[in-house]
Amino acid sequence: MASLNINGKEYQLDVPDQMPLLWVIRDVLGLKGTKFGCGKAQCGACTVHLDGVAIRSCTTPVSGAIGEITTIEAIGNDPIGQRLQKAWLDLGVPQCGFCQSGQIMNAVSLLRQNPAPGRDEIIHAMSGNLCRCGTYNRIIAAIQRA
């Protein structure tokens, strides 16, 4: 039995302790904005927040997800999230878009810790998030604009 707080809602779920948070979010709760890309914290597509900080949900067991979890579906309620979403659209960042929820979640976490990151700081913070379409330069521009 796991207790979870996701996007402000409390859930009591009958799932194994070691089940990764990603699959609880996707398959049990049906929140499909958080993506599966690699399953071993190599790509960042599954990024969510635990108490406001970016974590990889594919390698976080549900038993370790103690605190407030936020997913992409609720990040528009956050002023930083909102600004980033707008910058993403203004600059036409997404191509296929599959990695972008993870990218935005990671960027929100970055801006929360560092409201005006320089280019190198952005690269340092964001290099764990892969994008196969190659939108990196626009992501950097969008974070700087947000």
Binding site: G33, P94, Q95, R132, G134
Partner: protein, 778 residues
């Protein structure tokens, strides 16, 4: 240009912003041109017309207008990041006169009898559908105008269309699209010959620059159709369709291509909580074509349980049928290719006498280039959901090829094709991987055990890298002779790579005509003696294709070697390239043995060396080619033409004493003829730049005893943000009167050689084996 069949001539006219075929003189010309073609026995169809399923330009198929004025555009091409859902809707909305805020897009099911060809590959969506979709938009507009004219009892010529409304010039009366929708729907679709396309100055979206242009944000553009869904997590990809009570599955597949399922204990998996069933998936033997590889599916109540169940299985594989493939080891295979490259192969193209020209040469140069297998690794691994119910199957899949998916699923389940529905979700990247319907067939094969219940088959990243349709491995051996003045007089290119045709015919060891036409027999240089050969190469894995396909190794080898020749000749690389290209001329693809030509009409699409020179000149000017560079820093150049488009790239790189590489800037000049959506052309070229950097520096799938040695992004490395150039500058060449070229792929081939040439300029070190990897260290 005058000798194209009717349809293509119209495209040429569209690009010149003329009436389609509204003038008697123009119509007469078209008819004359058509007769001319019949005379020359040129009966093959080209473009969208030549594709399976052909095309339709019927507005009733693509455009629905509701009484409330909402315009719904049906998009029949797969969206995989190229922006086609937005761009197609823009083309229609522009011709129609629709208000963008009132335009919606509905994704078509897979059905070519209704929508025409839907296979989204070869950079053909806009290239082949620009004209039919404009015609559909114009026809719908004309039907609205006719409905208004009927209502007002006035002549059609007195009626005009504004934004989302039709008005009568003299009286000032107006009616909205919604008010006219019902009446317009009952009218006959106008004859395509009677359509008048919008003049250039009337266009609001087509060809208009907007968005982020080399770091500067221009005017706002039409909002991307899927933008808000993507940034808020509501966009629906392959695994995101909501279902009641779904099941989830993964499959254990044979580790070596052709191996078969042996002994196993299904209870090992069934003991894992959440696992419901283990299902045997039949393979199709060798070669596998587009069928599943076979194996054992584990079905569970959630994806993780299915993965755990698979992990618990101890399967003994039968390697008997795969004995030959089990000896496939990449390092040894490279040696085989190297040995074969020393022996003459099948002659693909021959001009002049190569041996004689070499004898007379002042300098003789040779080099061999290697490009390993690559994996597409879209961020969304293959995934599909199937539901089989009462003799019907429904599929939800991120597929580039909904029609093949439909046919193959029907075949597998023994159903009539009309009993199979294929819903195309957004594709979380594809790059050629999702052109193959194997994963949807797998989902269907599992779902037939669970009547009425949707089953989502998920590929893991390990599955994707270990059981892929890999881009071919390639070895290219080149030799050339230079005369006393450093001019190339002889050129030999022996190119070896397993063919994608080996998927269908196991002993197919030569490049197909399609593969030859991808930058091999189309080599554009004006050299007196040219000899192109293709020695055999055997496939031991499934050879699929990645973005730009065989253009990738061909461009890498040719553009690297051309640079080596320039250095041997003591000439500036750009000047040397222009010298080898010779006089501006349009080379007929047929004249060099290329019967593919990206399925375009050889009377319209040529190898245009003037356009090659155009992109080289442009990229040279923009990048400051020829400027003095500090020590350890250099510029590298390469060009390539493919899919009807022309691209040239210059990289500015720096390599430290310790061998670490900094990419300061990439400049890309691109000429695709008319530009439908320049903003998305730029984004595609930026993406091609990043992907090409991966090809040059990082990507490699290698095999040991038939098993892929890479299984996730820690070992199969693709570019991360820290690999991106500080700046990517895109330079679109205005060439609206040329035939439209593709966009998604043609930017990619010149990227890797330009980068490797820049590394040489910075360090004097020549890389001939990709990826660069650690070769710059020490």
């Amino acid at each position: 240009m005058e000798s194209g069949p009717k349809d293509r001539l119209q495209i040429a006219n569209v690009s010149r912003r003329r009436f389609l075929t509204g003038l008697a003189g123009a119509a007469a010309l078209v008819i004359a041109a058509r007769w001319d073609l019949v005379e020359t026995a040129e009966k093959r169809k080209y473009g969208a017309e030549g594709m399976p399923g052909g095309y339709t330009d019927n507005p009733n198929v693509f455009i629905h207008i509701d009484p409330d004025g909402t315009v719904t555009v049906v998009n029949h091409r797969s969206e995989m990041g190229q922006g086609i859902r937005t761009s197609n809707a823009m083309v229609i909305a522009d011709e129609l006169g629709a208000d963008w805020d009132r335009v919606r897009v509905k994704q078509a099911e897979g059905d070519h009898s209704v929508y025409g060809n839907q296979y989204t590959e070869a950079s053909r969506s806009m290239r082949q559908w620009f004209d039919p979709l404009r015609r559909a938009g114009a026809a719908a507009r004309q039907m609205l105008e006719q409905a208004a004219a009927d209502r007002w009892q006035v002549r059609l010529s007195e009626v005009k269309t504004g934004v989302h409304e039709v008005w009568h010039e003299q009286s000032g009366r107006k009616l909205g699209f919604g008010e006219l929708a019902e009446a317009a729907r009952t009218l006959e679709v106008p004859d395509p010959a009677s359509l008048i396309l919008r003049e250039d100055h009337e266009l609001r979206f087509i060809g208009r620059e907007s968005g982020l242009i080399n770091g500067v944000l221009e005017t706002s553009r039409p909002k991307a159709i899927d933008g808000e869904g993507i940034v808020s997590g509501t966009a629906v990809y392959g695994a995101d369709v909501p279902f009641d009570n779904p099941l989830y599955a993964v499959i254990a597949r044979p580790p070596v291509y052709g191996a078969e399922l042996g002994r196993f204990h299904e209870s090992d998996a069934l003991n894992v909580p959440g696992v419901l069933k283990v299902v045997r998936i039949e393979g199709a033997g060798l070669p596998a074509a587009f069928n599943p590889l076979g194996g054992l599916a584990v079905v569970a109540t959630n994806t993780w349980a299915a993965m755990q169940g698979r992990k618990a299985l101890k399967i003994h594989w039968d390697y008997g049928p795969a004995e030959d493939n089990r000896s496939y080891t990449s390092s040894a295979y490279r040696e085989i290719l190297e040995a074969r490259a020393q022996i003459p192969g099948e002659v693909i193209r021959k001009e002049g006498n190569f041996s004689k020209a070499m004898e007379g040469a002042h300098q003789r140069i040779s080099a061999t280039y290697y490009m390993p297998h690559l994996a597409q690794t879209p961020m969304e691994p293959p995934v599909a959901t199937a539901r089989v119910q009462k003799g019907n199957a429904e599929i939800w899949a991120p597929t580039q090829n909904p029609q093949a998916t439909r046919t193959k699923v029907a075949e597998r389940l023994g159903l009539d094709v009309t009993n199979v529905t294929v819903n195309v979700t957004l594709l979380g990247g594809a790059f050629g991987r999702k052109a193959k319907p194997d994963f949807a067939i797998e989902a269907a094969a599992i779902a037939q055990w669970f009547e009425g219940r949707p089953v989502t088959l998920q590929w893991t990243r390990e599955d994707d890298l270990q059981h892929g349709y890999y881009q071919t491995v390639s070895l290219d051996h080149l030799e050339a002779g230079l005369d006393e003045r450093g001019r190339a007089t002889a050129w030999l290119h022996r190119s070896l790579s397993p063919s994608t045709m080996s998927l269908l015919k196991a002993d197919f060891e030569h490049k197909s005509k399609v593969e030859q036409g991808m930058g091999f027999n189309t080599t554009p240089f004006d050299i007196p003696a040219i000899l192109l050969e293709n020695p055999p190469a055997t496939a031991h894995v499934r050879i699929g294709w990645i973005r730009s396909v065989y253009n990738l190794p061909h461009a890498w080898a040719i553009q690297s070697f051309a640079h080596e020749l320039a250095i041997a000749a003591g000439k500036d690389h750009r000047a040397f390239l222009l010298e080898m290209l010779g006089e501006d001329r349009k080379i007929s693809n047929r004249s060099v043995g290329d019967t593919y030509n990206y399925d375009e009409d050889p009377a319209i699409y040529f190898i245009d060396t003037g356009r090659i020179r155009g992109v080289i000149d442009r990229v040279a000017a923009e990048s400051g080619w020829g400027k003095e560079m500090p020590r350890g820093r250099g510029l590298g150049l390469a060009f390539h033409h493919s899919f009807g488009s022309y691209a040239a790239v210059v990289f500015d790189v720096e390599v430290s004493e310790g061998g670490s590489l900094t990419i300061h800037r990439a400049d890309i000049a691109f000429d695709c003829g008319p530009q439908a959506n320049p903003e998305r052309i730029r984004s595609q070229l930026e993406g091609a730049c990043i992907m090409g950097i991966g090809v040059a520096l990082l990507n490699e799938v290698s095999f040991e005893n038939g098993v892929a040695q890479q299984d996730n992004f820690d070992r199969y490395r693709i570019p991360r943000m820290n690999n991106a150039p500080r700046e990517i500058r895109i330079h679109l060449v205005e060439n609206p009167d040329e035939p439209m070229g593709g966009v998604g792929e043609p930017g990619l081939p010149p990227v890797a050689p330009a980068l490797v040439n820049a590394i040489y300029a910075a360090t004097g070190k020549r890389i001939r084996r990709l990826p660069v990897g650690d070769q710059l260290k020490g």
